[in-house]
Each structure stands twice: as structure tokens, then as C-alpha cells.
Symmetry: C2
Subunit: 139 residues, 2 copies
DNA sequence: ATAATCCCTATAGTTAACTCTAGGTCAAGT
DNA sequence: ACTTGACCTAGAGTTAACTATAGGGATTAT
């Protein structure tokens, strides 16, 4: 007999709540998970692996409805290999774009860190104000 | 007289809608924007710059309520320099964590690209099934 | 055998971040 | 004077992704 896991075990492993897993199932992301006669879900290791791929797609910002299309394609077999390949290529481009975006964000954040470090040391933000015309006439 | 911009000009420049800008204002993110006697918003260049920082914070995943705290601190002056510095340091750590996360995501995505490339070339996903015990007895 | 603890469904509620509508003001052009 | 188009507010509606509740069934520990 193949080892199976309960919904709460899977939730713990994937850092999700039981609610979330049942919600995913309702949305059609887990058509592969089998049940006991009385309806309790039995997760196989391969189901957990599939959920990890779902989590990966989610972390690229893909909405659940699109992830469902992918799951449907998986159920449809080899005739959808091209769609699935195209989808991952597109995801790759999307993640690359996000990385670029994050780099730009990081530059601004780091600039602000320096800005506030300097201001803190001076005790005032005025240090950054362009008051450079401030040449006293006397002295 | 200093040049000012209308809400729709600013929206176009920042790739936001006027709805969104008014929403931000309602949420307290733009207390610095001045108005004409009849209530029309007049954006200065410095206001646009501030909005770019807000967009930057948003892109780190910071919720609007927290961004509002930052804006409030800015209005409070030098007494809040430490909070603001701490906030940017924390944002930096957060962006770093996101970058790490994205890298891991990218690895999985790239692995899947290869997986589907191979499957496409073979015309079937079966190529990846571990049927390696498949040694015919005869021949 | 019975209480505790898991599991289930269906459905309602929540939250964030918009997005839109209705009804009105105001300034510029014809 | 009047139409056009940009501006305004208040408030309702939307969407995604959960999150929680109510009511009930099954399994395990005492």
C-alpha cells in the first residue's frame, strides 16, 4: 500500500491552511486527489509534488483560474504538451520581468536607506534640502 | 510660479488611473497635494516624486495602510527619522527575501521548461515516467 | 459506548485594492 | 448663453483569495 497523507498533514508541509487546500480543491486545482469511501481526501506524495508546482505558479503571480487551465491541460494528456510548454516559457519571461522590477525597487530602497542614515546622523532631514545658496554675507 | 500638473497628467505619467490616485488621496497617502480654491488638485513635481516612492513601497508588497504610516511620519518631521530609517531597512530585507524566493521559483520554472521541451520532442510525457524496469525478457 | 478529534460540505463573511456611478462644479471655447 | 470636457465627492460595486461558521459524519482513545 502506498503511503497517504491527511489534509492537515499536507497543509503543515506546504505552509497552507486546511481551508486553503479545500478552497483549491473547490476551484478545481486538485482533481487528482483520491478519497476514502466516506469522502476523506487521501493525498499521495505525487499530489504533494503537484501542489508544490501549483505554489510555484502562484508565486509567479499567476491567478488561480489560469492555474486551473494548466491542471485541466495536464488531465487532457499529451495533446496539450505544446500549451503547457508555452505557458512555462511565458512564466519564465514573467519571472524575469519581476526580477528586473525588484532590482529597480531595491535601488530606490537602498538610496532611501542612505538618505535616512545621513539624516539621522545629522539629526535632521534638512541636510538634504538644497539650501546651498546659504552663504552668509558677513564673516 | 512653479509648474503644476493635473490628476490625469499624473495618472498618465505614473501608469495609474485617476480613480486610483483619488483612492490613494482618500486613504491619506497624499496630504501634501495642494488644491485650487474650487478644490481641484494641483500636483507639483515633488508630489510626483513622492508618489514614485509610494509606488516603490507598493512594489515591495507593502500594504497601503503601512505606507500611510510612513507618510504620516514624513509629515511629523525629524522626530520620526529613526522609524523611517528602520522601515526602509526592513523593506530592504523584505525585497532581498523576495529575490531569493523568485530565484527558487525560477529554478522550478526552468526545470519545467526543459521537462516539456523533452516531452514535446518525444511527442509524449511518458518519456519522463520511471519505467526503467522495462527490460523485455525476449530479444 | 462515548467523548474527543479529526474529517466533510455548503455557504457566508472578510479584506485589500481598486473601479465605477451619480450628481454636481468650474473654466474654456463658439 | 451654452455646450464640452475636465475636475470634484460620496458611496456603491467588484474581484481575488482566502477565512470562518454551522451542521454533520467517521475514527480513535478511554
Amino acid at each position: 500500500m502506498m503511503k497517504t497523507y491527511s489534509i492537515s498533514e499536507v497543509a503543515k508541509e506546504l505552509n497552507l491552511t486546511v481551508y486553503t487546500l479545500r478552497y483549491y480543491d473547490k476551484e478545481g486545482l486538485m482533481p487528482f486527489v483520491e478519497r476514502t469511501a466516506s469522502g476523506t481526501r487521501l493525498f499521495k506524495q505525487s499530489d504533494i509534488d503537484a501542489l508544490k508546482v501549483i505554489e510555484c505558479l502562484k508565486s509567479t503571480g499567476m491567478p488561480i483560474k489560469e492555474i486551473k487551465s494548466f491542471i485541466d491541460w495536464c488531465s487532457d494528456g499529451d495533446s496539450t504538451l505544446q500549451q503547457r510548454y508555452d505557458m512555462f516559457i511565458e512564466r519564465k519571461a514573467c519571472v524575469n520581468a519581476q526580477m528586473e522590477e525588484l532590482k529597480k525597487t531595491m535601488e530606490v530602497i537602498e538610496h532611501k536607506c542612505l538618505y535616512y542614515k545621513t539624516a539621522l546622523e545629522a539629526g535632521t532631514e534638512d541636510i538634504h534640502k538644497k539650501n546651498k545658496i546659504e552663504i552668509p554675507i558677513t564673516e
